[in-house]
Amino acid sequence: MSDETLLRVREVTTTFDTPQGRLTAVDGVSFDLAAHESVGVVGESGSGKTVLSRTIMGLQPRRGVSVTGSVLLNGTEVVGATEEAKRELWGRQVAMVFQDPMTSLNPVVKVGRQIDEVLRVRLGMDRSAARARAIELLEMVGIPAAVTRYGAYPHSLSGGMRQRVVIAIALAGSPQLLLADEPTTGLDVTIQAQILNLLDEVQGRLGMSMILVTHDLGVVATRTTRLVVMYAGRVVETGTTRDVFARHRMPYTRALLESSPKVSNPSHTRLAAIPGRPPNLLDLPTGCAFAPRCAYATDRCTSERPVLEPADEPGHLFACFNPLPLRVGSPS
């Protein structure tokens, strides 16, 4: 693995202006991503992980959003860049696999055209070369009868097939960084693993870096080298995947782990739901945002906000005043 840093995220904060006030969806997030590396961003709904992935790409809506901090992608600053400058990056340097393939493909454009648009507009290929390459991409993402499917409309494809098309679109410009934002949310459970394996495979084969955003720790366990755990827009724990699974210190991470189904569990094992609801981002508590739901919370947790502190292992950080004791033996 190369040490060359492809992506440097520093103190990124994304706020939305709503009529009810300012909403901070991502709050001071920092992490690095090396070339060819894949990182998992995990958290519950509303933890800011989707907003973070869009912020990294600079793909937020044009109005009502403000971003501070720095996102350095291959030496180019994304935060504050003009739409024109970001367009140069999109497709070629960074691409995204969207959440729901039922809504992310244009319903009135043939899938082949949606793929070769990148090839023709961004790579300047001519019509026939683009067509040939698009069919190649369709084959690469595992779509049978690619030549016929090239001329199909999205509505004639199943959800899994559509997500493969979305992946083909993302791969068309040979990006160095692939952002996969909950890429299996809208799919059948049986299809989910296929899509994740496909992403894993192409990431390795094409030597891309990947950020895999998910709420399901099971998804990232074997497919990423490092994890960023988010809660209420902040990073609450980060480290190598192995460390986060085996030696997590933040109670929230454990709650996430316990709420994720594991194949190794005997059947009918009861999943532990995280008690309470994710906090209202418009009205965050003063202290630790997880404190109201945390079994270990003390008075300090509700009055003072914990910052990320290093754990014993290199690169392992957590934000908690009452860290969990290290367990003997790993849960996964």
């Binding site: 790409m57 793909l59 739409e83 970001k86 367009r87 140069e88 990056l89 999109w90 497709g91 070629r92 691409a95 995204m96 969207f98 959440q99 729901d100 809504t103 992310s104 493909l105 244009n106 319903p107 009135v108 454009v109 648009e117 990148v118 507009v121 961004r122 409309y153 509505h155 979305v166 679109i169 410009g173």
Partner: protein, 316 residues
């Protein structure tokens, strides 16, 4: 798709038959003796005899319909008892003018409405969007005939634009420059009405479309905003627009009547109003039939266009 169109076609034929019945029985809906109404000022013993022979007015009413229908299918709408000219000849002379007017006004409407709707949808609530919204709303409330009066006052009289009048109307095939000059004003008047409607319909659909995830995906490809609007957003936003346009043509014909009447352009509307003035029943009946069927056919064409624009429609 083929099944969908076939089903639509069956409905179309059914409606056309119903319209033909309606147009035929129109005369019997009215109080009084049909012959007196049909003959109007041309009421004389000879004409009365000819009418009875032509329409078989002595026979049962169902039979009358089939006699009439058979004639209509042969292009025989009767001979006017006022002008003594076959009704179809009169209609055939006027019809191309209406078609030209509609085509010109629709091209103009789409050419103006689409870019305007896009510039509004790009930035909803911008000053441009607010202005266009208020302006189009106001224009929507101004009846066509008032618009015509105002435009005639301003353009035709103050600016002394030539070629607005029956004497100067020249068929397209004869001299297209003069023809277009005379058709410009009526087409613009008709277009103003359509533009406001199309703008409003397309704007609201575009705004909805631009919030779709597939637009974000298109953006993430790094293609230009122009390309996103034209290639990705316009087509899925056009379903309501085309539906509206199809229906609008019906209103357009009626609006066209007034424009023609005022600007002395010898289209169907002008002919219709004149025939009403002369109580020339057969011509009115013929025009009602032709225009009604025309509206239905245009609706069908636009329904077909919708299935081309959005392949999902035909599946539902």
């Amino acid at each position: 798709m083929a099944r969908y169109l076939a089903r639509r076609l069956v409905t179309l034929v059914g409606i056309v038959i119903i319209i033909s019945v309606g147009a035929f029985y129109l005369i019997h809906l009215l109080p009084g003796d049909p012959a007196t109404v049909i003959l109007g000022t041309g009421d004389s013993p000879q004409n009365r005899a000819r009418l009875y022979a032509q329409l078989g007015l002595n026979r049962p009413i169902i039979e009358q319909y089939f006699v009439w229908m058979k004639n209509v299918l042969h292009g025989n709408l009767g001979i006017s008892f006022i002008s003594q000219v076959p009704v179809w000849t009169t209609i055939r002379a006027a019809l191309p003018i209406d078609l030209e007017m509609i085509v010109l006004s629709q091209i103009l409407s789409f050419a103006v409405a689409i870019p305007l709707a896009m510039s509004s949808a790009k930035r909803p609530d911008s000053w441009l969007d607010r202005f266009l919204g208020a302006f189009s709303f106001t224009m929507l409330s101004i009846p066509a005939f008032i618009l015509v009066v105002v435009l005639v006052l301003v353009v035709a009289i103050k600016l002394a634009v030539p070629h607005t009048g029956v004497s100067s109307y020249v068929p397209l095939s004869q001299d297209w420059v003069t023809n277009l000059e005379s058709m410009a004003l009526p087409s613009i008047v008709l277009a103003i009405g359509s533009v406001t409607v199309y703008y409003r319909v397309l704007r609201s659909d575009l705004i909805a479309t631009l919030q779709q995830e597939y637009i974000t995906l298109a953006r993430s490809k790094g293609i230009s905003q122009r390309r996103i609007l034209w290639r990705h957003a316009l087509r899925p936003s056009s379903v309501a627009l085309l539906g509206t346009a199809g229906v609008n043509i019906g209103g357009l014909l009626a609006g066209g009547f007034i424009v023609q009447y005022l600007l002395d352009i010898p289209g169907l509307g002008y002919t219709l109003v004149n025939s009403i003035g002369l109580s020339d029943y057969l011509v009115v009946q013929g025009i009602v039939l032709v225009v009604s069927i025309g509206v239905i056919v245009i609706n069908f064409v636009f329904d077909f266009l919708i299935t081309l624009v959005d392949p999902r429609i035909a599946r539902e």
